[in-house]
């Protein structure tokens, strides 16, 4: 069954709302390809997204999709995984959803390390509200609310995650689909919280960080001699070095997941039989006598 799946099995009838040329199309195509190649079936995929252009992606993937409130995809996704550990859980959103309004949850999801995949579609602008600076916009970026240039320093989401204890960090580029599929597959298969940040250009509002600009600035870390993705310091160096945007699996390690930490049973909680006649309830009542 698994090998028979194709990306079309994950397609929905809903037409996309994205602008022609939007980087998010590349992310959507790569994700459907990755899920099909991994043999995941739509009924067992829970896809949680936030708000913004990129947050719409959950509506375009045939699955159990949840399009919640702004910035809160990760708490929802974490709980879905705890509730039913048999599901493939994917969360997605933009740089605003994940690194601004949802920044608090981002750090804590990293700490907890639930076995799910988080895709951050980074276009360095707010698209759906028509072009304001985002937390990843460069200092000086001119936008409607920062006419004299963005006064804030950009957030380095992956470096932040590394500091918080991330167990899987990767970055892709929506114009490099083959690599992106491979990264998403590795992320989904990773045991723990996997982050795939995808450079996903906004062709409508961001006239600085264009496809051409990215092509000039990205660099595949896997191409570097001796790059070891289990070396935290090397990963931090790669992520914070000026002037380059490393692509590929930047960091990967194996540490206990949230499910391990809470000693979650093998039976998904959602599959437990609920009985009110469990004799242990009467024993518990005795503690109040």
């Amino acid at each position: 069954m698994a090998t028979m799946l194709t990306p079309k099995d994950f397609a929905t009838a809903t037409p996309s709302w994205w602008c022609p040329g939007c980087g998010d199309f590349g992310v959507l195509a790569a994700l459907k390809q990755a899920l099909a190649e991994l043999g995941r079936v739509p009924k067992d995929v829970a896809f949680i997204s936030g708000i913004g252009c990129s947050g719409k992606i959950s509506g375009y993937v045939h699955s159990y999709a949840f399009h919640g409130v702004h910035g809160r995809a990760l708490p929802v996704a974490t709980a879905v995984k705890l509730a039913n550990r048999d599901l493939t859980v994917i969360a997605a959103g933009g740089d605003g959803d994940g690194y601004a309004i949802g920044a608090g949850h981002f750090v804590h999801a990293v700490r907890r390390n639930p076995d799910l995949t988080y895709i951050v579609m980074d276009n360095q602008t707010y698209g759906l509200t028509k072009g304001q600076a985002s937390p990843t916009s460069a200092t000086g970026y001119v936008a409607s609310v920062s006419p004299n240039g963005n006064p804030d320093a950009p957030i380095n989401g992956l470096a932040l995650a590394l500091a918080a204890g991330a167990s899987f960090l990767a970055r892709g580029f929506s114009a490099q689909p083959k690599q992106l599929v491979a990264l998403l597959k590795a992320a989904i298969e990773h045991r723990g919280f996997s982050i795939v940040e995808v450079m996903s250009p906004c062709v409508t509002y961001n006239k600085v960080n264009t496809y051409a600009w990215f092509k000039e600035h990205v660099e595949d870390v896997a191409q570097r001699p001796d790059y070891a993705p289990n070396d935290r310091l090397a990963a931090f160096d790669a992520l914070t070095r000026e002037g380059q945007i490393p692509l590929g699996i930047v960091y990967e390690d194996d540490r206990p997941t949230l499910e391990d930490g809470v000693r979650l049973g093998e039976t998904p909680i959602a599959r437990l039989e609920l009985r009110t006649d469990d004799p242990r309830f009467a024993t518990l009542q005795d503690t109040f006598r």
Binding site: P42, H67, A83, N84, I269, F281, L284, R289
Partner: protein
């Protein structure tokens, strides 16, 4: 001789052990067959600061605080200064005079004074200052005429797991207290006596214990929460128990995460809840709107405390009713139920999950500090009476993709609900307005139908909601309306007014939303005066009632907003004044 009704207050510095001693004496009262209510009045700090713990014992179940304190055990002078005015004439004070003396201006002549160097006896005779609390229990036992064997049995029971040495030390402390009274105050009886009440199998627990226990029995297997007074007890208890039953708790990074996690677990098919108090409730508002529009069953326990902002975190108030009923942008159907006793806290916790699952919406279980952190004696729960009703849940098998519509328009407003893993049920659950299949649309006709469908649930659920309880004389001229922790003092006021020859009736509201309009209207029929009793400044319940009955002259507000629960006399006196023709009617 005052028999079978006493209110004891232990006062001292936080961390002094007032709570432990209070729980001990509550246990003794329970063993004596008396009914118990406790009230914690502690500061929002861990060490230091005046704290007190009130234990009221009597023959009537589900009463709250008494009119006044009968017996004050003051571990320091501050406790006397703070509470001397609350003492009933004829009551008594046990004061630890090891380091301090009672100034003459505080020495009320209408009280009995027992000045005992509790700390010195503890240190010099027993070698441990900490046991002065237990000595005070011995003192009280002697002054109140409690059966010494029961006192010993309780101490033994409580300290048994700490080992023989600890049990022995505490037993000697009890004896030291009793001996001191016999040796020094033989000629000065307290005027109080307690006889045994009716024997019977009973529990003693806090409202929060009952909520957590009820939720567990009812099948709650996921709880996410952020620590906040006075709700934390529930998360703590569940964290101990849920893993044993295959479930899990999460200590979230904030209440935004807690409520969104609750939604996530419920979306995946697990009975899920969160518990919080005012500040956290404010933060949860947006996601509760999402639960409304996505028709996700979630249970939110609101343990109200005095607000706004940080307010008085450890004090009681009923000021979050508006927040629960109106909170959030847009409009969603929701349910607010409020238990009035610890027993009801258990029942309503279980009911909340059935309502949430059956009608696929957020259900608030509203309680407050004076109930959720108060202990009471109660009959054991009938576990067989707890039913798990999951409504139109499809949690296994398959549905036909394309035919199945998650948000199908139905007569009762409730659509069959699939969970992830069910073949063919794949759909989008969006916070945006959507059609029956979950596809986002701003179509005007669909929008109107969808709003009507969601709100239809409030109509179809009417018969499943807890009915208001009528106490007292059904056709009395004077009526009282209240809910939550006020059930205790109001019920006591009704009983005592009846004994004075003033018949009254009391409508204890148990469903606050959808608002029980019919029950309110019926209650006003034939009433000359209706008192609305609530713990807030602006009259949140009062205003809701006015929207139903209009600006009737019969309606009178009785409000308290100092962070403390009503004492029955505060309800009795205004009614007495009202029914006394010679006195002008002046009730705010």
């Amino acid at each position: 001789m005052i028999l079978n009704s006493v209110e004891v207050m232990f006062g001292g510095q936080a961390g002094d052990g007032s709570l432990t001693t209070g729980d001990l004496i509550a246990g003794v009262f329970k063993r004596m067959g008396l009914e118990v209510y406790t009230y914690k009045d502690f500061p929002s700090r861990i060490r230091g600061g005046h704290t007190n713990y009130v234990i009221r014992a009597g023959v009537s179940r589900d009463y709250g605080m008494a009119d006044a304190v009968d017996a004050l055990v003051a571990f320091d002078l501050e406790a006397v200064e703070a509470h001397i005015e609350e003492m009933r004439p004829g009551g008594f004070v046990v004061f630890d005079n090891t380091d301090e003396a009672i100034p003459e201006h505080l020495r009320r002549a209408d009280l009995n004074w027992y000045e005992i160097p509790l700390a010195r006896i503890a240190k010099e005779d027993l070698g441990l200052e900490l046991v002065r609390n237990t000595i005070s229990l011995g003192v009280l036992g002697a002054l109140l005429g409690m059966d010494p064997t029961i006192v010993r049995a309780d101490v033994q029971g409580v300290y048994a797991r700490k080992g023989e040495k600890v049990v022995d030390l505490n037993l000697r402390a009890i004896e030291a207290g009793e001996r001191y009274v016999h040796e020094h105050f033989a000629g000065q009886p307290s005027g109080y006596g307690l006889t045994r009440g009716e024997e019977g199998d009973r529990l003693i627990m806090m409202g929060n214990d009952a909520i957590a226990y009820g939720a567990l029995v009812a099948g709650c297997r996921f709880m996410a929460g952020y620590p906040i007074t006075p709700a934390t007890d529930i998360l703590e208890w569940m964290s101990k128990q849920l893993p044993k039953f295959g479930g899990v708790t999460v200590q979230a990074e904030d209440e935004l995460a807690a409520i969104n996690m609750t939604l996530g677990a419920a979306f995946a098919g697990v009975r899920a809840m969160t518990a919080t108090s005012g500040p956290g409730q404010s933060l949860m508002t947006e996601a509760i709107g999402l639960a409304g529009t996505l028709e996700i069953p979630v249970v939110i326990v609101e343990c109200a405390r005095a607000g706004p902002s940080t307010g008085m975190p450890t004090k009681t108030e009923q000021s979050n009713l508006n927040l629960l009923i109106y909170g959030g942008h847009g409009e969603i159907p929701r349910v607010v139920i409020a238990p009035g006793t610890v027993s009801e806290s258990f029942e309503f916790a279980a009911l909340a999950f059935n309502l949430a699952d059956t009608y696929q919406l957020p259900v608030f279980l509203l309680t407050e500090q004076a109930l959720c952190q108060s202990k009471a004696t109660l009959a054991p729960f009938d576990l067989e009476a707890v039913a798990i009703e999951r409504g139109k849940l499809i949690d296994r098998g398959a549905v036909v993709f394309g035919e199945y519509k998650r948000f199908a328009f139905t007569e009762d407003g409730v659509s069959p609900r699939v969970i992830p893993g069910v073949e063919g049920g794949m759909h989008l659950a969006p916070g945006s307005e959507h059609n029956d299949g979950g596809v986002i649309t701003e179509n005007s006709r669909n929008r109107a139908r969808m709003m009507e469908k969601r709100f239809r649930k409030l109509e179809t659920m009417r018969d499943d909601l807890p009915k208001a309880l009528l106490h007292g004389v059904a056709d009395a001229d004077v009526g009282i309306i209240g809910y939550g922790a006020n059930r205790g003092p109001i019920a006591e006021a009704v009983d005592r007014l009846a004994a004075m020859g003033i018949p009254t009736r009391f409508l204890q509201l148990r469903t606050l939303w959808p608002f029980p309009e019919d029950e309110i209207r019926a209650f006003f029929r034939g009433a000359q005066h209706v008192f609305v009793v609530e713990n807030n400044f602006t009259g949140q319940l009062d205003r809701l009632i006015r929207t139903v009955v209009g600006p009737v002259p019969a309606l009178r507000a009785l409000r308290k907003y100092d962070g403390r629960p009503f004492r029955p006399i505060e309800i009795i006196e205004p009614i007495q004044r009202l029914t006394d023709a010679d006195l002008p009617v002046e009730v705010r």
